[in-house]
Structures are given as C-alpha cells and as structure tokens.
C-alpha cells in the first residue's frame, strides 16, 4: 500500500506505541520522525540503537515515555543535549531507560525478526549494565551448561526505515550500510518504509537487500526523507548540520525555537527541506 507520510503516521503510529526508527547513521528516517512530532504523538516507547538527532528531537518535544537504546551521542560531535536533559533533569518529562550494548540490541532485533522470545549472546560480562536492567538475564546452554547472556526479543509495534527505492508492488530495495534496519523491519508488527523514489519494477536482485512486499505495511514516497542523514547513491550526510545541531539543542529555548520554525512550522518534509535551503542561502 502506497500512502502519503502524514496518512501513514496517522494510521499506524498511536499514542503509547513502541516505535523503532532504525538506520545506522545511514538512512535514518528523519522525515517520519518529524511527522510524528507534527502529529504530537505522546507516550511512545522509542527503540533505536543510536538515538541520534531524530530521537533527540522527539524526546525534546515530549513524544517519548521510554527509550530502548545502546549508544546515545551525536556521532563525532558530542552529546545529545535533549536526551541528556530528559535523563538528568526530566525535561520535558521523565524518560524511562532500557539500556543495552550494541551486541545486545542486535541480538534482540534478530530474535524479534525470528519471532523467538529471546536472543542469546556471549556478552554483558564485567559490566554494570545487567545490575540496572532486568531485561538482561542469563541462560544456560542445555549441552555444555555454559551461562550466556539473554535479552528479550524486540518486536516494535511499528518500525520505520528509509530506503532508496520501492516498486509499485511494495518491494523495497536497500543499498549500503544497514545497521540493524533490516532486522528491525522484519521484527515489526507494522512496517512503514519511506523511500526516495517508487519505480515500476525493481530489477531482479539476486543477493541484494530487499524487503519483500508482503512484509511491508506501507510504502511512503519521500524524497530526501533521510536528510540530514544520507541515502547512499542519492545524497551525502550533512556533517555540518550534525555539528550545528550541537549549538541548537544545547539550550531548551533555542531547541524549541528551531523545532517551532522548522518542524512544527512546516507542513511536510518538502517544506522542511525548502526552509533549510532558504536559511542556507
């Protein structure tokens, strides 16, 4: 089913839902996150290995009740100030944490994709994380008796990923760095994919990365939908924006002003991008 972004968010993302916007540095679905902010969703359980700027924005705008994550920084730049403010000062509201390592979250997404109730890893040894997260437990190997770490499967109510293209039938093709996006997509109860373009037919893909149409709930045409993250073969990561974000998000007032102007004050992602372009010019 091909839907406009606003319809897809309205239809599939409810208050209180668990939502994973995945994509590791590459293909982060910014447009979808902004639309969730515009539609003022609340009490979301946000799930993402690296919250990145998009969750900094959603958390700062009060969309989230809980965060499942494994690394919450601005890559190569520093802190996510809105995430820190939520944890350190409970602003704009308290944020419950379900904190993992990358390896643990990866195992949880894989378990979710396979519809197993838990994932197993040789991990979380010598770290204080399990002491603060009851979702990190141990399981004994039924053959060797060895104790291993276990994490509960992640099966988001909604996963949203961004991709380069889909065909009319709803098959989605992804190129480049994947992070855990594919596993998060396969683990979802509902899967929304925003894409740079929709083509009549994808070429036979052989071993390329494809999400077949019947696991995709909605395809959303959304050019530039990953900006300021990037889409391999379409546009580059705006590293300068990631650096600028540090100053924008450092204070509540400047953050709110920016969100008001650029996200709440724009009608859709095209208007958001046009506004930034104008500001640059």
């Amino acid at each position: 089913m091909i839907l406009p972004l606003s319809d897809a968010i309205e239809r599939f993302v409810s208050d209180g839902a668990s939502v994973a916007l995945e994509g590791f540095t590459h293909l982060i679905p910014f447009a979808a996150g902004h639309e969730i902010i515009r539609q003022r969703r609340r009490e979301l359980h946000l799930i993402r290995m690296t919250p990145d700027l998009i969750y900094d924005q959603m958390i700062g705008m009060g969309c989230a009740r809980k965060l499942t994550f494994s690394w919450g920084g601005n890559p190569g730049v520093g802190s996510l100030h809105r995430l820190r403010d939520a944890i350190e000062q409970q602003w704009p509201r308290p944020l419950e944490l379900d904190e993992h390592s990358h390896a643990g979250m990866a195992a949880a997404f894989c378990a979710g994709a396979a519809r197993l109730p838990f994932g197993t890893l040789r991990g979380y040894l010598g770290t204080d994380l399990p002491a603060h997260n009851p979702n990190i437990r141990r399981v004994a190997c039924p053959f060797t008796g060895e104790m291993l770490a276990a994490v509960p499967a992640l099966n988001p109510d909604v996963t949203i990923v961004h991709a380069q293209r889909a065909d009319q039938a709803g098959n989605v093709a992804i190129e480049g760095i994947l992070g855990a996006a594919r596993e998060a997509a396969l683990a979802a109860k509902t899967l929304i994919v925003t894409v740079e373009e929709i083509v009549d037919e994808l070429p036979p893909a052989m071993n390329a990365i494809v999400l077949p149409h019947w696991i995709v709930s909605a395809v959303v045409p959304c050019r530039g939908g990953a900006y300021p993250s990037y889409a391999q073969g379409c546009y580059a990561r705006d590293n300068a924006f990631y650096r600028r974000w540090d100053a924008i998000a450092r204070e509540r007032a400047s953050f709110l002003a920016w969100m008001d102007e650029h996200v709440l004050g724009t009608h859709d992602h095209h208007a958001f991008l046009a506004g930034l372009q104008q500001a640059d010019a």
Binding site: W71, E88, G126, L178, A180, Q232
Partner: protein, 261 residues
C-alpha cells in the same frame, strides 16, 4: 621532524601498535585516524571493520560518523550490523579493538555510561555502544584516552566495559575470551598492564613528557615501570601522512551538501 600536537603523537603511537594483516575494530575519532594512518604507512594490509557493517574499508578520508558513505563504497563488503557483532566480534575474528571512555581505572576498566548514580546522573554519557563486547572478545584492546584526574580515576562511577576487573587474573577467571587492554595510549605516553597484578603502569613516555606530568594527570598513585621507554618522535613521513589525511578529511567534510529537494 616538525612540531606535533599530543593528539597527533597519540595517533602515531597507536598506529605503530598495528602490524601486518591485523583485523581492527575501529571507532570514530583518534582510533579511526590511527588505523588509517597505519594503513597508509607501514601496514597497508590492515583490515578495518566498523560496527556499522563495513568490512575492509579503504576510505580516503576519515568518517565523521561510524556509518559514513565512504566506508560502504570502499569496503570489501557491507554486512548487517548483527553479523558484525555475532559472526565477527563474538566469533573471535577481531585482533584489535579500540576503546575510548570518560573514565578509566587502574585495571583498565572503562566507564562511558554516567557520572554520578545511574538513576540520577550528574552527567549522562552516550553509553555502551559496542564497548562491552569489544572489551570482552577482541584479542587485544587499545584504549585511547586523554589523561586527567577526572578521567583516570580511583573508582569508576559505572563500569561499562571490562578491563582486568580487579586484576591478578580476575578477568581470565571471569571467562572473558579476549586478552583485555594491551595498552592505554594517552597524552603523556603509554600505560601497560603489569604481567602479574594487571595494574596499569607507566611504561613509555613521549619524548617531551615527564613522569611527574604523568603522575599529576592520573587520579590514582601511578605505578611506574622500572624501565620507561621513550616513544620515538613522529617521523616526517608519519606526520605528513597524518596531516594530509586530516586535510583531505576537513576538505571533504566542509564540502557543502546539497539539500535533497
């Protein structure tokens, strides 16, 4: 040789630790610079893996993020992130893992989670990322971290990843498969674990650094090895290569990005 900053010196010192066809699990920042410097100088066969999924990258510039497009384009292949952690790291296929942190203790344990109590931190740090399992599984770990009494601490606020735990073989007894921190490269030189106690001790200094400077920068009573090596000043070739890499990187990152309208 030309004058160089302590960051550059750290990068060169780390690069020299990398040899032959070692497989390196690379983080962003100084580790990425060190690995690529080694690749561009004495270790062209080095294999660089980034947790985003890029294996065997030969990027011409340094990535700002761990998943930049250059990494994918120049990689031998790109695999899903879960495979990096299960089929490569956990499978024992990583020779050298790089870690940084906000705090380190005398046994090389690291904190990148919180300053203050976990539930009510004074400073919330980014968190674990790949660190706990890199620390666990890499055959050897290199820590790169500028020193100050606030970062080299008597007691961690939170242990994010394991070094030698309480030392004296505690790490091996815990069942950790990897070898633990082989060296801590910092801005006065290098600490390495004592073979028995596994306490970090000062074993090498940059040519322009002193034992007193090292002691002042470390928040515990720093053990000093009987013999302290001097880390050779970066060569012109090393520095030129690093400067050129950094210049290419700055130039690439400054290139304005077209907003995809």
């Amino acid at each position: 040789m030309s004058a160089c900053s302590r960051d550059e010196w750290m990068t060169v010192a780390a690069a020299r630790q990398l040899q032959g066809r070692s497989v390196c699990f690379v983080g962003i920042g100084l580790p990425s610079a060190a690995c690529n410097l080694a690749r561009l100088t004495h270790a062209p066969q080095l294999v660089l893996i980034y947790e985003s999924g890029a294996i065997g990258t030969r990027s011409d510039v340094l990535p700002l993020s761990i998943g930049d497009g250059e990494l994918a384009e120049t990689a031998a292949c790109v695999v899903p992130l879960p495979e990096i952690f299960s089929y490569y790291l956990q499978a024992g296929r990583i020779d050298i893992g790089f870690l940084g942190a906000a705090q380190i203790d005398r046994h090389g344990n690291l904190n990148s989670t919180v300053i203050g109590p976990y539930a009510t931190p004074t400073t919330r740090l980014p968190g674990a990322g790949g660190a706990p399992e890199i620390a666990l599984h890499a055959r050897q770990v290199l820590v790169m971290l500028r020193a100050s009494p606030r970062s080299f601490v008597e007691r961690l606020d939170f242990r994010t990843s394991a070094g030698y735990l309480d030392g004296h073989g505690a790490r091996a007894r815990s069942g950790a498969p990897g070898g633990g921190p082989r060296a801590v490269i910092t801005d006065f030189g290098m600490l390495t674990p004592h073979p028995l106690s596994e306490e970090l001790q000062l074993t090498a200094l940059f040519a322009d650094a002193t034992v007193d400077e090292a002691r002042a920068a470390v928040g515990w009573p720093l053990a000093v090895a009987e013999r302290i090596d001097t880390i050779a000043t970066p060569s012109t070739h090393e520095l030129d290569t690093l400067h050129a890499l950094n210049a290419r990187t700055r130039e690439a990152h400054a290139r304005p990005v077209r907003i995809p309208l």
